[in-house]
Amino acid sequence: MKIYNQKTHFRRWVVEIPAVVALLTILAWGQELKERAVAIRGAAIETISGGRIEKGNVVVRGGKIEAVGAEVEIPDDARVIEAEGMTVMPGIIDPYSRAGGVTGGGEFVRVADQFYPYQEVFKQMLPWGITNLSITPSSLGQTAVIAITPDLPKTMVINKDGNLFLPVTNSTSSLRVLRDGLALRPAGPQGQGPEIPTRAGRGRGQRRGDQTQQQQRQRAGQRAGQQAAGGPSSMADPLWAKVVKGEQYLIVDVANSATILYLGEILEKYPEVKVALNTNGSTVFETLETLKKFKPLLILPPRIENQPNRQYRINAARIAHEAGLEVAFTGLKPEAAAAMPGMRAGRGQRAAAPPTRGASEVNRDVPLFPVAYLVKAGLPREIALLALTLKPAQVMGLADRLGTMEPQKDANLLIFSGDPLDPASRLLRVMVEGKFVYENKN
């Protein structure tokens, strides 16, 4: 008995001592965080939610924004960053990213289950000004939202339960996934073939023929159903339910313009459903009338594109905005900026840039150049800034946490040397969750 007691006694200590130590360190760490604030003083602030503050302070504490405004007092303990003449804006959020190579496979891909944070690509992203990504699978699945904090790989995923994602093409098997999903139809034996206009004037033989057709269609329906929302339907079903109620955006990737017309036909019956459509400018140009009807939020690459089959150039973001559609930008990359016409010459970099520096390296200091191009081509500035920050956050369902410079939001912010949309400005610092993850030393 005694021996036994001693043993348990001993065991308890083994557990308790490290636990107490750990608790103390956590408390101390927390205390330290609470004590140490970071203050950015005298900068112009693009708050997104409340317009532009020409000169104000931002106080960050514990990974969150504590205060923003012209009159905000800087706490005594704060580490102050003098930012006179500089501009602070929320970090760029990409609502449709394939970074990290979650390719999926299988019927339903949950990105959070496959995400691998120890990848070079996330470190490379730091100078781009991107602070959050919604990582999208390549087939039917669920997205996950990450913060670009490669130094804290274990906490990179900030929302494991992202949006339902669905790629759609103009084929029956693909459209059926959407039709069945929105109808909350359990896939499988009940899956019926779509209605086909039947021919007039039926004879006996024809009736029989039709019966076999019907059977074929039913079988086909079953097959398609199993491929589609079936399999791990338990994972997709609750997400479809949320989508139908309009609680969550459905992210759709369309293969071509024709698919958008089919989407329009299907979504006509579901006015509650909120769709974020990943597409491109020429598709938007072609299908604008249909888009106006079901009003999806458009996820577009920030670039000037051509009219389909024409050489005329279009600013799709502007066209969409003028048609009353919301826009979010995706795929902002220094490479994209480097490919912009007149980019280097316009900045006078041709002579100044040392030949050893690659184009992407040169241009990463001005990550918003492509967006500035669109603004110059008529896209309203505030819409462009929204499309980089709050709109993507809205798609992810994290508008209460990301996308603006407001108290209690995640301290994900960028400091530019001047106006972020001025090609002469440089991205100087990137802060993610209250910590500077990148500093421009050039």
């Binding site: 029956t172 098997s173 779509p194 004879g203 024809q206 057709q213 071509n256 313009s257 024709a258 072609e286």
Partner: protein
Amino acid sequence: MILVMLGLAIAASTVIAQDRPLRRPPQPPQTTPEETEEESPGPIIAIVGGKIYTVTQEIIREGTILVQDGKILKAGQDLAVPEGAEVIDAAGRHLVPGFIALNASRIGVSGTTGGQNLVQDALNPFDQNMQYLLGVGITTVCSSTGAGGQRGMRRTPQPTPTAPEGVFGSTGQIVLKMTYGDIEGMFVKENPFYAVRSASFRGGLNCFNWREELKRAQSFIKAQDNQTDEGEGGRRGQRPSANQDVVRLLQGEAVLRTDAQTIDQIRDMIIFSRSYGYRIILEGVDEGWLIADELGPAGVAAIITPRSTMTPQAGREEITGGTMELAMHLERAGVPFAINAQSGSVSLGGMAGRDLQGLPLQAMFAVSGGCSEKSALAALTIVPARMMGLQDRIGSIEAGKDADILILDGHPLDYKTYVEKALVNGKVYYDRAAARILPVFDRSFYEQQIKIDK
């Protein structure tokens, strides 16, 4: 007071008196929109002042076509344009029903088809070829969807033990309207023909197989009739299997479309069709002019290409080979014929597809060969519509039909003529000035130049 009353009464009576003669003349136009509005509230489009080739009836000079809800409301002379109607001025223009191309390859379809994937879900109305087709006046195409035979859109599996799999399978086709940019109203019909490649009928063995196929279908129909006589509880399991396409063919619900060039090939097809009693549409028919008298009684309809020539067969004593007079001979023998573009698979490589531009040009060749202009125009419109069983919807300008109308800047069979506007289902889907896929210029400019030179 009395004076005032009198004055008012007179004034009122004069107003009424003035109103009456004024009101009477516009009464018919006032009542017509009200009546039509009760039936269908859509807006009316009026195409005014053109020369209307109705195809099925006489030509209407300086006529008006009223279009509502995608259908032709009325076509005729002295039609009052209802108030609020959108007016398209077609003065000096020629109005014809949209042309129908029976040979096209995968136009307007981009998704996967076949098996579980339906054509209706695979349409691509942004196919640039559709705009080209409209540019040359084609508003409806019968487009192939697959390679035919074993693959493609075949409905029923082949349960035939003797014939090689898929030999008599129909090549898949769909009838689509060129509603460029719209899915609505694009799909018209699937498999209008039981189309079989001619190779399936060539040679003794294939002919034998075809006869066996027909016999199987006959016994299938017979067993089916017996079964319905005996009631549903009859001998279900013992029903013979047959190609359902052939069954429908023998029951008169489908029509066989295949190509036959020489006299022998044509005669073979006629013999089969007469002895088993089914309808055929023969494509090519280059030597058909030699036996035009046989085609008529056999109920053959032809799809011809007037420009194509066929050299006489070596070693034959009788006259063989093709002629440009084919259309004339068919017309005189009362054989209905449609005109096809030169290339079987319509190539669109060049600007607006030179083959396609040749569709009215092909018809012009038929006219050069002695065919009447009326038949030549019908060969592009109502005849192909009838072949596909769509004569109630397309192929002529008549009240109640789909408003598929071309506004041309010249005679429909003139090589100089361009399509100015093309309406499909009552909507303008092509405007030469806006589409800019064909040259845009004003011909009168050159006429003026000539005058100045003089």
